[in-house]
């Protein structure tokens, strides 16, 4: 299932618009994976732009609520960094994933490019629901953040 429409719907609430234009110039940003897994407490498709320690810890609480003991919240220096993330939402089996593959800075905004995949057909799989997610830390950016699904 493509994530973009839902991601855009979510972003409309907070960012006001879902841009579709191409950036005038690119600057690829490095980022560090904070967690990339298939069992998250976020069971609905969702995107994240978290710029404070409080919001990151609150998000982590929900993300990790299915595990005992709750793993510690990965450290992020919000003086210079922020957290962006994508959640695929609940899926019926393993084999689904979602991954942030690139961040690039345009003149107007920050683009977060992600890719989601589905399991191969005809393999027998475990009958456990999954909820893939990917959180990364990125350089702090106060402007608009746009999520784009990679083709």
């Amino acid at each position: 299932m493509p994530l973009l429409p839902l991601a855009c719907a979510a972003l409309l609430l907070t960012l006001g618009a879902c841009a579709s234009h191409e950036p005038a110039s690119d600057s690829t940003l490095s980022f560090e994976s904070l967690t990339h897994e298939v069992q998250s407490g976020f069971v609905e498709p969702q995107t994240f732009v978290l710029r404070s320690d409080y919001s990151w810890k609150e998000a982590w609480k929900i993300h990790a609520r299915g595990r005992l003991p709750v793993p510690p919240t990965p450290a992020v220096s919000f003086q210079t960094e922020m957290v962006v993330g994508v959640a695929l939402g609940s899926r019926p089996t393993p084999g689904y994933s979602i991954e942030i593959v690139r961040l690039h800075l345009t003149r107007d905004d920050l683009r977060v490019v992600y890719r989601d995949t589905e399991p191969e057909v005809d393999l027998v799989g475990a009958q456990v629901l999954t909820a893939p997610i990917h959180f990364v830390s990125a350089p702090h950016f106060d402007g608009e953040v746009i999520f784009e699904r990679a083709e």
């Binding site: 069992q39 595990r67 005992l68 019926p92 994933s97 191969e120 027998v124 475990a126 456990v128």
Partner: protein
Amino acid sequence: MIAPSALPRSLRSLSLLPLVLAPALCLAFSAGCSSGGGDSNNGGGASMSGRVTVPAQGGTVLEAEPNDSVDQTFSLGSLGSGQSLAVVGSVGGTDPLDGFSVRASERVLVSFQLEFDAAEDLDLLVYDPVSMQFVQFFVSATQPESGSFYANGSFDLVVLPFMASSSSYTLTLDVSAVAQVLESEPNDGCNAANGTYDGEFVGEFGAGDSLVFQGSADAATDPVDRFLVAFPAALQLDLSLAMPGGADFDLFVRDQTGGIFDAGGACNPPPLVDSFESMSNPETGSINVPGMSLYEVEVFAFVGSGAYTLTLGGAAPPPGSGFAGLAATQASPAPLASERAALGELRYGRPLHETWPGEVVVATNSSLAASGFEGALAQRGCRELARAGADGARLLAFELDENLDAVERARATLARTRSLASHPAVAYAEPNFVWRPMGGTLPNDPFYNLQWHYPQIQLPAAWGLTTGSNDVIVGVIDTGEIAHPDLVARQIAGYDLITSPQIAGDGDGQDPDPTDVGDGNGLQPSSFHGAHVAGTVGADTDNQLGVSGVTWATRLMHLRALGIGGGSTFDIANAVLYGARLANSTGNLPAEAADILNMSLGGGGSSQMCQNAINNAVAAGTTVFAAAGNENSSSPSFPAAYNNVISVSAVDYNANRAPYSNFHPTVDVAAPGGNTGADVNGDSYADGVLSTLADDSSSPTVFNFGFYQGTSMACPHAAGVAALMLAVDPGLTPAEIEQMLESTANDLGAPGQDNIYGAGLINAFQAVQLAMGGGGGMPVLGLSVSSLVGNGAGTQSVAVSNLGGGMLSVTALNVSTATGSWLSAQAVPAGTSTSTDTGWITVTTDPTGLADGLYQGSVEVVSNGGSRTLAVTLSVGDEPTVVDVDIFVLVVDAVSFETLAQRIVNPTRVLDYSISGLPAGNYLLVAGSDDDNDGFICGDQDVYCSLYPTLDQPQVISVSEGQTLTGLDLTMQTGFGGQSAGSDSSGSRVFSLLD
């Protein structure tokens, strides 16, 4: 500042101590304590406050079932001089008797009054746990029954309905110290005509004791006075009888250990141990007495009459004297068969629960450990087998006569247990049960309370029947095994059936190593799905670690068939064959075939090879379960849709279809699969199925626990219940297991079989009961709570549930109060339930006319599925009762049960508490007294206990950062929870005090 840990624990009960220590009793995790006192908010954290209400000491205790046998008594704790106690209960009908165990801390005279309904007749008997027989009989036809008896050490009180009598009752006990025993007629010994023993039981007598008897005898009119003395340990008994001048009184000592009565109810002529028949005054003598014996001492007036003084003295046996052991346990059936059979109390002396012969679990009070206890063990010929447990519990063993039958061995074991329990250094002593009694079968795993999915299928009740067998093997066809500490003890050799090295991820194809190397494929952590499924079937349980499994003892055989991206039908078919010990592609066979195969997997198309493998496995006697699939689809999912497979769909916390669960005609039963998108039960965790997991996102791998959802999670619940069924009947065939699971399931959805739930939600209790040859769908009464606390006028509801099958009918509500008529109850029919015709009991309290204080009563709920009693406490007025005991208020982590904070309230007329500096979290609020000074509250010997808001229905209190919670009031209960002296203490939650 005095550090609390620097003070002896025994000093902590001093009333001044809380004032001294208030600044020191900060939170355990707090970096520093406020110097302003312990009750102020330290600023940074959240706070809780409220008031503790305590019933007056020596107040009213409500009896609670089960208390029908010597190994299932209701403990009244210790009674000492000056104490009074009222016990409120009901007996008769389906409740044959009420047994109470008591420990007299000194030699006392207990005066009692037993009040009951005028038209009925209840009796009171005193039971000697040393010789395991009744020794005092108060069996008049009058109302109330009253009298007095002597006691020292352990004894039991048994309230017994005469013939078909049935009544509520109030038993009042008043205890006073005695310096000597006063002879009281009639005391001529065994009375076959009445079925009583007319004599005076004086309780236990040990080395160092001395006891004076005052009486009178007359050779012509009253020649015989008889006394019964219990000897838990061997000793040298010295006797001295002073008599009037000119008289000739003699002494006879007889052994009544083997039973006062014979099998026919006639008096057993007791063997004469010794007699002292000289002309001397005083008449003196000395005998050696073996431990665990009951002796009758007879004063016989041979010539003359007048007052006499009999003095007994006891000394420890000299080393090497050869009589330091125990009396030979009597194989006589007399204690079981003879004791006033007409009155029907036979069952009391027969232990209901199997114990390991001769084994006793004992923990001592740390402060008293040195007070002669080791000598007491030596005197009883007792040896230590093992020592373990946080409370220093020891496993001890007595030698028992090999010729005893199983019942007599159990009786002898119980007698030795009780004799140790009366020692002042003992915090508790209990038999080493083989099967735990039903009331004590909750596991001690710290995360069990988050496994809502087990009570949903009546597993706690099923565990009262069996906790599983190590003879049963469950094969888990899945992602393989991990070295999780909550699994390793259960795992046996498995196999890796994955042929593709790419899917296997371990560098090769099929091999004997079923280790799950992870299926992350770039994502971490891996799912470790097989570990989660296996943990549900049979995680190591009751090991004070992590989670519980459906079975506590089943062996787990991991058959690895799922790897990176999943698996193939070829590999899975071969895993089925391998598990069933049939020819397969590996060329190898397991040492033993799996009795059950669990396949929490699906997808792909229908495979003839897989169907054939399943057919062959089932024909070989292996029962096969599979998950119905997670696509929220009506399409068949394989292997669940194959013939000969028990297909399991999933329900959520409310027993509704889980939103993902497939629905198809091949669905056979439903089981909990969870819904991690919800937290309906409000425990702050997702309502998924909690089991064993691992995190391989860093090295080394961390073994943890997690909530998953899916029909994958439902399937092992059903497989685990099948393992419990095989534990009680290893001869069940796959077809019989399926039939029993289906016939005992609680029907959900459309009546009868349907595509969503199949036959319904599995019922572990019913299925195991049926497998044992019992049950057959009979109803079993369940109540949502067993106690209520009310404040003034009000009405509260208690949910009625049918733990069994068929239709449950509540036939009567028997309300009982010690004072006034402030309590009433009404049964409310259920609206649409198909398994019960009574949905609720509403309990109403009306304090009109009552003075301020605390009142206790009970509601006995009688049904065609048995009876249960609700204890009701009513608080009237605002003033808390002042008591002379420290009450500890603890904040306890709701998951780990670790005590985080502690306050003490005490007799200052202010029982308010306030605890501050709490971090955000989920907590339980507990309060209680530490009467045995063992560092724990709510233990067997502790008088007061309460959880917020009620003892039987505690709530997790979620506290956010800096939040202030007020009004968290606690009402203490005494005799809480119907603690059974014979039950496993580990089954009852106790809470640790902070040092």
